[in-house]
Symmetry: C2
Subunit: 665 residues, 2 copies
């Protein structure tokens, strides 16, 4: 018979379990019980990959889980056992000193009714963390946390097989942020001509020999963001929305969460290869910075630039050596001031460490390939491909000069120029040690968020053109056969094209319902008019882009998830779209149709919470295109973390020893 006290525990835990399992607001996503192991159950590790291990014991003070008067068990113990063998204490197994006990309090909401009622649930926590440990032998490990006199939380981990031989000298990993198969289909339609249903030319992506699908879920929600999805791709460990390079704990400190080693930290430590990141976003944005970031909050932009350059400062940690090539937007984190870490001038900080610093395309192209290279070409995100190539007059509307002058950045490289230059630098600096490059087309996602399908698809076509140019470049420097090229995404948006819209007819109708009759579905969708030359229209953008971005018959497209907005379809020539806006007197986060966006269109009321000004991500598996060494490993369907293990295997990063090069630069 259970003691009275344990009966209470069991009943409480059973009750809390049923509540926790039925909520989308979560106390701590990876921890449905009151004892937490981070990394949690079902995680995979690369042999030798460094990580931190945190335990938390929760004592909810109030709410449906209230327990033990809000006093957490400080006497919890934990063990680890390999392949069903004898459990050892964590400190003994990892030869780690016993860490100090930590304590904190956090609060959360159990559901939307609790949010409305302003009744948070408060939780007291006792915790310990073991830092910078690793598992070297492949196999299954069981971690057991014991707490509250008889409760246990178990985590079973898998250490993947060893792989110590490099099969690819170089890896180039292209990420089309938010890119789905549906978008690729639409972009192909815009840029490539069909004759009687047969494409006369194709995307470069269409020519990849191997195709896979990648599942993108977060560790604790089925919808992901770009931070934790990038982190999964780069580290083989899923995380929580807004977190990168860590398992999110419940502590208030955004930098103390348990870390995992990333691909660039591994390749630097093990092979001393060169590495780089290129993005059309501000370079502190999630996808580029997740290569080096270890934080619960992606929004700490200034500190993340410091982490990229100098590594983790607050705890002992492996480091990436700093990027050899680092190109994108986001001058705010480099100019001295409120956006930069400790207010410092990060152009100067990078220069001090030997970087060339380029603030425009001309300077970028002239930068020496032998030197580490920083290129920051504007504030915020790079203006999109459509502005840079089709509507260049719009560039003058931005006050985004990267030097901080009140001026427009107009001498801008695109994804292609940045990527090709990065390859030059990385190939020169990596030499026989090879390189890893991540190149991100960021505004596929950013423009899908604002329902600006034209601009999103323009940037997708820029990505495809960049991949095409990259293959040519690798051929010309004799590295194509040595290089694994992977093109994928981090998540999707629920975008699709369902017909064509007759913009002339739409504009001529007077009410929302008759305007909708301008949309042609099935046979009335007709053929793409973006590939039909229009007298007087010429952009000089080459064979793989539309010859007319503004035809009478445009694609009719949409998302299942959107704010209130107006749809007139067709390209916005004045700049990126702003679909929803606040209304005076209605609150600063209550979004309605923006009356100045697509004024000839019809109103579509939203399907999202009214505090969302933009569309949101989708659930969908995203495609993976692979060519080069190990390409066959990328066929079929797999998780986003598997993409990391496949790349790490191909690079020979799975070592059974604490492999560190004799001399780390």
């Amino acid at each position: 018979m259970l003691s009275p006290r344990l009966n209470v525990v069991a009943a409480c835990l059973a009750a809390s379990l049923s509540v926790v399992s039925g909520q989308t607001f979560q106390r701590l996503g990876t921890c449905p019980t009151l004892g937490c192991v981070l990394p949690p159950d079902q995680q995979d590790f690369l042999p030798g990959q460094q990580f931190d291990l945190r335990f938390e014991v929760h004592a909810p003070v109030n709410g449906s889980e209230a327990f033990n008067g809000g006093v957490p068990d400080e006497k919890f113990t934990a063990t680890i056992a390999k392949d069903g063998g004898q459990p050892k204490s964590i400190a003994a197994f990892f030869n780690h000193t016993e860490p100090a006990l930590e304590k904190w309090t956090f609060q959360w909401y159990e559901d939307l009714f609790a949010v409305d009622a302003k009744t948070p649930s408060v939780v007291n926590v006792a915790s310990k963390i073991y830092r910078r440990i690793a598992l070297y032998e492949p196999g299954s490990y069981t971690v057991t946390l014991k707490y509250y006199s008889g409760e246990t939380t178990t985590a079973t981990w898998t250490v993947r097989p060893l792989a110590t031989q490099k099969k690819a000298k170089n890896v180039i990993f292209f990420i089309g942020d938010g890119m789905t198969t549906n978008m690729i289909t639409a972009a192909r339609l815009l840029a490539h001509k069909t004759v009687n249903g047969k494409y006369q030319s194709l995307l470069q992506l269409d020519k990849f020999p191997v195709l896979g699908h990648q599942m993108t879920h977060s560790i604790d929600s089925f919808l992901t963001d770009s931070a934790n999805s990038a982190s999964a791709l780069y580290s083989g460990h899923k995380s929580t929305v807004n977190a990168m390079g860590v398992y999110a704990d419940s502590s208030p400190d955004a930098y103390d969460d348990p870390k995992v080693e990333t691909i660039v930290e591994l390749i630097h430590r093990i092979w001393g290869s060169a590495w780089g990141a290129v993005s059309t976003a501000f370079i502190a944005d999630a996808t580029p910075t997740a290569l080096t970031a270890h934080t619960r909050s992606r929004y700490n932009y200034g500190p993340l630039i410091d982490q990229a350059l100098n590594g983790v400062q607050n705890y002992s940690w492996t480091n990436s050596g700093g990027p050899d090539a680092y190109f994108g937007g986001g001058a705010e984190q480099f100019l001295p001031g409120s956006g930069s870490y400790l207010g410092k001038d990060y152009y100067a900080e990078f220069a001090k460490k030997g970087y060339s610093v380029s603030l425009n395309k001309t300077s970028l192209l002239a930068a020496p390939n032998t030197q580490k290279a920083l290129g920051i070409f504007c504030k915020s995100n790079l203006p999109v491909w459509l502005e840079r190539n089709v509507f260049p007059e719009n560039l003058k509307k931005f006050t985004n000069d990267p030097s901080g002058a009140k001026a427009s950045a107009t001498d801008l490289p695109g994804l292609k120029e940045m990527t090709l230059k990065a390859i030059d630098v990385l190939h020169t600096r990596g030499g026989e040690k090879g390189f890893f490059l991540m190149s991100e087309a960021a505004s596929i996602d950013k423009q899908m968020h604002v329902l600006d399908y034209d601009r999103a698809l323009g940037d997708l076509l820029e990505l495809d053109d960049t991949v095409r140019a990259t293959i040519e470049k690798l051929k010309s420097i004799g590295e194509l056969e040595n290089t694994l090229i992977v093109v994928s995404a981090d998540h999707g948006h629920g975008f699709d094209v369902f017909g064509s819209a007759d913009t002339k007819y739409l504009a001529a109708q007077k009410d929302d319902r008759t305007k909708r009759n301008a949309i042609g579905v099935y046979q009335n969708s007709g053929l793409s008019q973006y590939t039909v030359e229009h007298p007087g229209t010429s952009y000089g953008t080459g064979a793989n882009f539309p010859v007319n971005w503004d035809p009478r018959y445009v694609i009719a497209a949409g998302l299942g998830a959107n704010p209130d907005h107006r749809e007139g379809y067709g390209v916005d020539k004045t700049g990126p779209r702003v679909p929803a806006a606040t209304i005076a007197g209605k609150g600063s986060s209550d979004y309605y149709v923006n009356p100045t966006d697509q004024p000839s269109g019809f109103v579509v009321n939203g399907t999202l919470p009214t505090n969302e000004a933009q569309g949101v991500h989708s659930l969908t598996d995203v495609p993976v295109f692979a060519m080069g060494p190990c390409q066959g490993d990328f066929s079929g369907t797999f998780g986003n973390v598997d993409l990391f293990y496949k790349i790490a295997d191909c690079l020979g990063l799975a070592h059974g020893t604490n492999k560190t090069r004799p001399c780390v630069a």
Copy 2:
């Protein structure tokens, strides 16, 4: 210098070309000029594949293309040349008698303004057709039509390489109608449990070794329907919306259009293999009937059932021998009356030709495997998996008894039972000659059309379960290694999941805007609640289906293309959804929100023409999963017609002679 008359011609053609290229309403989609070759430019052929060749010369009487007083050139001539060689007349090249001249008139609208103004454009036509010809030698062929004293229309055709050896004895081709990667992702989420982001079980589709993407466009519009997309998959020839097994001509006769030979006609003629079709739709629906149909109009259901049994009646044509197994819904075309061809009893017609006839699951399972088998289990489409397995009481609401009685069909097989039985019959009857089976999960599409995501995903899971059972079945009869299994779709819908919805909170809010706050995006999407057991809820549907279809937190999903409707999310327990309805006094094809559908939900106004009661198809490439002999051929991105050529190659159907078995049964 051009003669004055030719100047006029050239000017008119130039003017008409610019108009034609800018319109979604098309005079004849494959014919932008006034001279038409069908099959048109850029078409591919399997060596030896039989087809008809039609020429049309158009004389528009009025409208922007008005020409030659509306008198078509009856003296047109046509030639064909191989690989740039000497052109020969069509009759001489194909050893075909010169066909008689045909003449007709048709009309069309140039755009929506013309529709509103009721000003059709009228066209007079002169035409000839050469029937049942074939090209036996691989290579490039140029067909030239000359008309109006100097105008020419050229079609370049490619005859694919020979492939005369069978690499697969059997082919099973599963079609998830309308199925996209996005839907597969959502179905996996509903039926398979994750622990900290790691799936504990997977779909059968996830285990396929090879993945491809298939482009679905029609020959003359970028959005396809299930008729011409199925036809492309089965024949290697794209067609026009609503057409199957033909290139759509402009004549009023729906049965005289130029035909192409299909996979089952080829496999019957060349190898004498058995073949079958299984569908959860009415069996005269496009996807099953396109295997044997040759018509401009998919809606001629009665005649299409006759074509399936007896082949083409009005012109000499190869035939399929009739299906060996034919299972689905659609008793309307079998019961004597207005739905059947010539009012005949097609149960009797099939029985006369030696078929066993089953009208329920019990009878189906007992039918002899040695005999050809017909199984028609209800009127219209089969009730969906969710009705058959989770809400069986809803079955009683249908008056769909296949015998014509005013009763409900309740002894219903599912896709799995029909498919496994078909394999038994085909394996027995095909013997060493092997078999071809098409098995369709039809209501993925049908339920996406009515925005009933639960029912669509239920049928997707039924498809996956059927594929799983099929692999087991093939193993058990020793045929797995001999069988190519391909799972794909014919087109998509722009469906995606973008969060979760708290149905309790949603129902408790009073207005449309606050209801939307029930939707949780990103981290608030949480984990799938469909895999969490709910006390008192048990369907007995097995490991690969949700354990709770009605959790508090459901997926929030949607389409970019929809009619006015109400969204409350969550499963409709009363039966399939009817999102939009007409309103008294507003016209019979003017659709508004259906007030009885999801009454607790919020209103979403549509993005489609108001005469659309349902969602429509999307543009997206769809996935192709392959395993078995030739599986490697299905990797990467390709057109829907390529799927036919890949299967035909694997079956050795590409012959350089008019291969016909000595004795056709």
